[in-house]
């Protein structure tokens, strides 16, 4: 791989599709839920993440690390309609070996692309101790992140920039079945990425599923005890090839399947949680970098 090509693409899309996903109710950690946000109420979520990708088969031996803090604020417009704002802070680092054999590191940090979206519950079936809901959602990713950052090597590759520079709409539908003992969430979504600065990220389609099972307390007592959930989440993610100047980047895009075990402790006012995303299958194009793992931990607040 020539140096210019290495600098043009990390071959690994560090887009927000993977890190700015979830709503702030008691919910999966890697995507959304159909559970409500009460009218006039706020929920806040902070999620910290560490993501690493390596194993580059090319001589560039690229490695990418991302540290992030993703803030989500949800507000209930009505009992059925909620609005969400997502703002990430990211610290990205790309290590690679140049054609001359020198090992260099390129990095950037700051606010990434924000997301605004709304979610409306179109179907609700409530019964004692359980609920089933279906809620479509739609929104847009705003170009709030810096998309023309540079270092001593010149402009950073588009995939390393904090923002895409483009206005990218997305939408999908999420369904939730929740009982006192367990919760199942499933989501299908699509993000239409648009061009900016001569670069266009490939579109993103994903299917997500989550099972949360109450581990403790085994027997419910009076009042509202805290719940400790054991969680297993799965994410099937397809990314189209990026385009550079209208030409496909053959070392980008592909299909990945992640499986993620987790623990989550839920009370009336707050939630603490942590999850590890491990790739099970990665069928990526060309020399696109593969994910090693992602760790997320955070909290949510009702107020």
């Amino acid at each position: 791989m020539c140096r210019s090509r290495i600098l043009a693409s990390t071959g690994w899309t560090i887009s927000l599709v993977f890190i700015a996903s979830a709503a702030a109710t008691a919910a999966p950690q890697t995507f959304n839920t159909a559970l409500p946000v009460a009218e006039g109420e706020f929920v806040f979520r902070e999620q910290f993440l560490y993501r690493k990708a390596s194993g580059d088969p090319s001589r560039a031996d690229r490695e990418v690390e991302v540290l992030g803090a993703i803030s989500v604020l949800g507000y209930g417009m009505t009992g059925d309609f909620a609005g969400f704002a997502v703002l990430p802070y990211l610290d990205k680092e790309l290590g690679l070996t140049t054609a001359s054999g020198a090992r260099i590191t390129r990095s950037t940090s700051g606010i990434g692309d924000a997301r605004l979206f709304g979610r409306y519950t179109v179907y609700r079936d409530d019964a004692p101790g359980r609920t089933f809901r279906i809620a479509p959602f739609a929104g847009i990713e705003l170009p709030t992140g810096d998309d023309d950052d540079s270092d001593g090597q010149g402009s950073l590759p588009a995939t390393l920039q904090l923002g895409s520079g483009s206005w990218d709409p997305f939408g999908g539908v999420v369904a939730t079945y929740q009982t006192l003992d367990y919760q199942i969430d499933a989501q299908a979504s699509y993000k239409l990425n648009t061009e900016a600065n001569g670069f266009e990220f490939g579109d993103e389609a994903r299917l997500d599923a989550s099972l949360q099972y109450r581990l403790w307390p085994r027997e419910l007592g009076p009042g509202v005890p805290g719940f400790l959930y054991g969680v297993l989440e799965g994410n099937l993610l397809y990314r189209g090839k990026n385009e550079i100047g209208g030409i496909d980047d053959r070392d980008s895009g592909g299909t990945s399947l992640f499986l993620s075990p987790s623990l989550q402790y839920v009370t009336k006012r707050w939630i603490v949680e942590a999850i590890v995303q491990v790739p099970l299958v990665q069928d990526l194009n060309g020399d696109a970098l593969e994910d090693d793992f992602t760790v997320r931990a955070g909290f949510r607040l009702n107020f």
């Binding site: 109710t25 008691a26 559970l35 409500p36 946000v37 009460a38 009218e39 006039g40 109420e41 209930g76 009505t78 009992g79 059925d80 519950t121 609700r124 409530d126 019964a127 004692p128 101790g129 359980r130 609920t131 929740q178 009982t179 006192l180 919760q183 419910l220 007592g221 009076p222 009042g223 509202v224 005890p225 805290g226 719940f227 839920v266 009370t267 009336k268 006012r269 939630i271 949510r300 009702n302």
Partner: protein, 109 residues
């Protein structure tokens, strides 16, 4: 005034005073009674969601305390002395929280 008439007036005034006192006591008693309502909220299945229902009900004028029992799905609303809650108010509050009111029962404390 004849002695007999004076005694009769005195007795009447006494009875009137006692009646007023009893009436006043009755009012005070009624005012210290707290109405308690037990609501059945369908769809409530996790602790984080209970907060929304409690907060919506707590915003209603006259509501003193709200407590939830998640296993039974019941929400107990205790009113301030003399205040009351209608089923319509309760239904709207539970709906604003994103849930469904199935039952509404009134009992006194």
């Amino acid at each position: 005034m004849r002695p007999g008439t004076k005694a009769a007036v005195t007795i009447h005034v006494l009875f009137a005073a006692i009646a007023i006192m009893l009436a006043t006591l009755g009012t005070v008693s009624a005012q210290t009674e707290r109405a308690v309502y037990v609501l059945q909220a369908d769809g409530l299945a996790c602790p984080f969601c209970a907060y929304g229902i409690e907060k919506q009900l707590g915003r209603i004028d006259g509501v003193a305390t709200v407590s939830t029992d998640i296993e039974s799905g019941t929400v107990t609303v205790t009113m301030s002395p003399g205040a009351s809650l209608t089923e319509k108010q309760a239904k709207e509050a539970v709906d604003r929280a994103g849930f469904t009111l199935r039952g509404f029962k009134w009992k006194t404390d």
